[in-house]
Symmetry: C2
Subunit: 354 residues, 2 copies
């Protein structure tokens, strides 16, 4: 009872193990295991009385399972790895929230890794994942058209999938894995079509060249313009960030007089664009319209008449976990699941005279 071999307090009182619980309950370790951590084969629940004794003992000792031990015993962890570029990014954070919620409702936890858009780091991370025995891996970084890079990445992911982890890629890419995407192109096209009703001299602020996300947004947007008989006056490239938008507008400065809509391909860029436009002397939205993409929450409140596209970021979680946990026999059934984005066109506010 009191002859605990570990020091009684302070550093390193070993947490109770199944063996401790079993001993306290007077059953074998195996029985305790079956009662407290019923596996997939939920049967073998034990008799009422033993159940109670074991559960009481576990409660009294404060037992909680050691997932690392489970992982090596079973050969697979109850975890999903989520790879994003940077957690401070609105999109990444929202996707993460959705994935965590979906994982939790399935009794799994999520391990998040950030690449900071470094191709080397990206490979290291995926490589290390192989040893971690995750159930699935969700790729939520923005992919590029850099073929050597993508090819190396693909190879590492294949090896990861061969080792038993289901790979799911969010968004379009050239990666041959299960995919959950959004109808970004058609949403971008519809946004363009709507905006083309009231604007005709349009400049596009695109993301980095070679980034798939940017590419499909621009492609869709241009298609929408084309449907209205228009084509953009200019397409400027920059980082998908506030500073990227800011710089892009200055790059465009000479031609701004010809422009009545600056269509940024991300909300963050749109904000940077607005700052630059104000500096240059264009009042937004009176003298210039700026649109975005992503539907970052606070902007709806602060930018009257701001049009954008709401991505179904939180829904990715459910969709990805479904793909990961779907029957193993359905594997290699790499059909793409496509979610819908929401086009949000807000009318320009009426000017109320001061």
């Amino acid at each position: 009872m009191t002859d605990n071999p570990s020091p009684p307090a302070g550093r390193g009182v070993r947490p109770p193990t199944l063996a401790d619980v079993a001993e306290a309950a007077g059953v074998s370790l195996i029985t305790a295991s079956r009662i407290l951590n019923p596996g997939v084969r939920g049967t073998r629940s034990g008799s009422q009385e033993r159940r109670r004794k074991v559960q009481d003992a576990a409660q009294a000792l404060g037992y909680t399972v050691n997932p690392a031990a489970q992982t090596i015993a079973v050969g697979a962890a109850r975890t999903i790895a989520l790879i994003v570029t940077d957690i401070r990014d609105f999109g990444s954070a929202t996707i993460m929230a959705g994935v965590m919620a979906a994982a939790e409702s399935r009794g799994m936890s999520v391990a998040v890794r950030t690449t900071h858009d470094d191709p080397v780091r990206e490979l290291e991370i995926v490589r290390a994942l192989r040893g971690e025995r995750h159930r699935g891996v969700i790729i939520a970084t923005s992919r590029t058209t850099d073929e050597p890079r993508e090819s190396r990445f693909r190879q590492e992911l294949s090896s990861l999938e061969d080792s038993g982890a289901r790979v799911v890629v969010i968004g379009d890419s050239t990666l041959p894995f299960a995919r959950v995407t959004v109808d970004t192109e058609s949403a971008a096209a519809e946004l363009a079509t709507q905006l083309a009703l009231t604007h005709h001299r349009i400049a596009i602020l695109a993301g980095p060249e070679g980034e798939v996300t940017s590419l499909e947004r621009v492609t869709g947007f241009e298609a929408g313009l084309a449907a209205a008989g228009l084509s953009p006056i200019a397409v400027m490239h920059g980082e998908f960030s506030r500073d990227g938008g800011y710089a892009a507008v200055y790059d465009l400065q000479a031609r701004l007089a010809d422009v009545d809509l600056v269509a940024a391909m991300s909300d963050a860029m749109a904000v940077g664009a607005i700052v630059a436009l104000n500096e240059i002397g264009f009042r937004v939205p009176d003298e210039m319209t700026v649109s975005g993409f992503d539907n970052v929450p606070l902007l709806a409140d602060l930018l009257p008449g701001f049009s954008t596209v709401a991505m179904p970021l939180e829904q990715f979680g459910e969709a990805c976990l479904d793909r990961i946990l779907e029957d193993a026999s359905d594997r290699r059934n790499n059909e793409t699941v496509r979610l819908r984005a929401d086009v949000i066109v807000r009318p320009k506010p009426h000017r109320s005279l001061p």
Copy 2:
């Protein structure tokens, strides 16, 4: 060579283990372990030739260590648990980014758990953490003055710390653990003092009653006002969110004519307040000043003359990891580390006539 006992492809090619590497390199498993995963005692590096052979074999086989196995062998994982309320919150996401960066530079990874401000869930999470053998646990949820709740939480955390995980609490609270805090009160006071130079009829939009974060911000702000010989016209409580600020302004509506500064205790509340004020008919910032707290990035660009306080959110990571990894002999040395917040007072913009 080719007589691999596992199926050649598809589901479940077991990832290579140390034993595989050792065999391929012609050394014992132990030697491979010492060369590839040198522990704390970094000595025993092996002879040059063996090193190379083992490393080559590991490279060729694509070996990566299984951290779960290390965890049960060593009795402690190379991980830090981070507990936040909701990852979509700007503060939580930024803290998380800082913690992840700091952990990574020390060769550890981070396990994030979200409580969604549910006291029961909070306890369950901490309880489960005990089995996970983390090196440290960072509490970044907002604590309350609900004594029963805090007491239960404290108890669970103590048991966690006894089991070997170092507990660090971010922000002030009644929890008796290592702490990393911010001089919130004095920052709030300084913000108030500065704003009191140009405003005299001030309403405070506080966070939820009983939340420590709100309490210290309000206390500091009132102290700053008092130093200027003022006291607030009203203190309204609400959620620390956009909707909370929105509602709080409507609660205040009858007295708004007497107010020249709405001091929100969070930036999100400030945005909601601005929306409500605009709806009611007060033009911000011309007819009413609104200030905030947190320094959410995009607001600086979109709200000219917006004053707020920048919290050192990213620095928490380094500070917390230092506390977690400091010498075990320094444990129970629960001195509080205090970081500095930055008061950002922006002058009201000049009205440029249209």
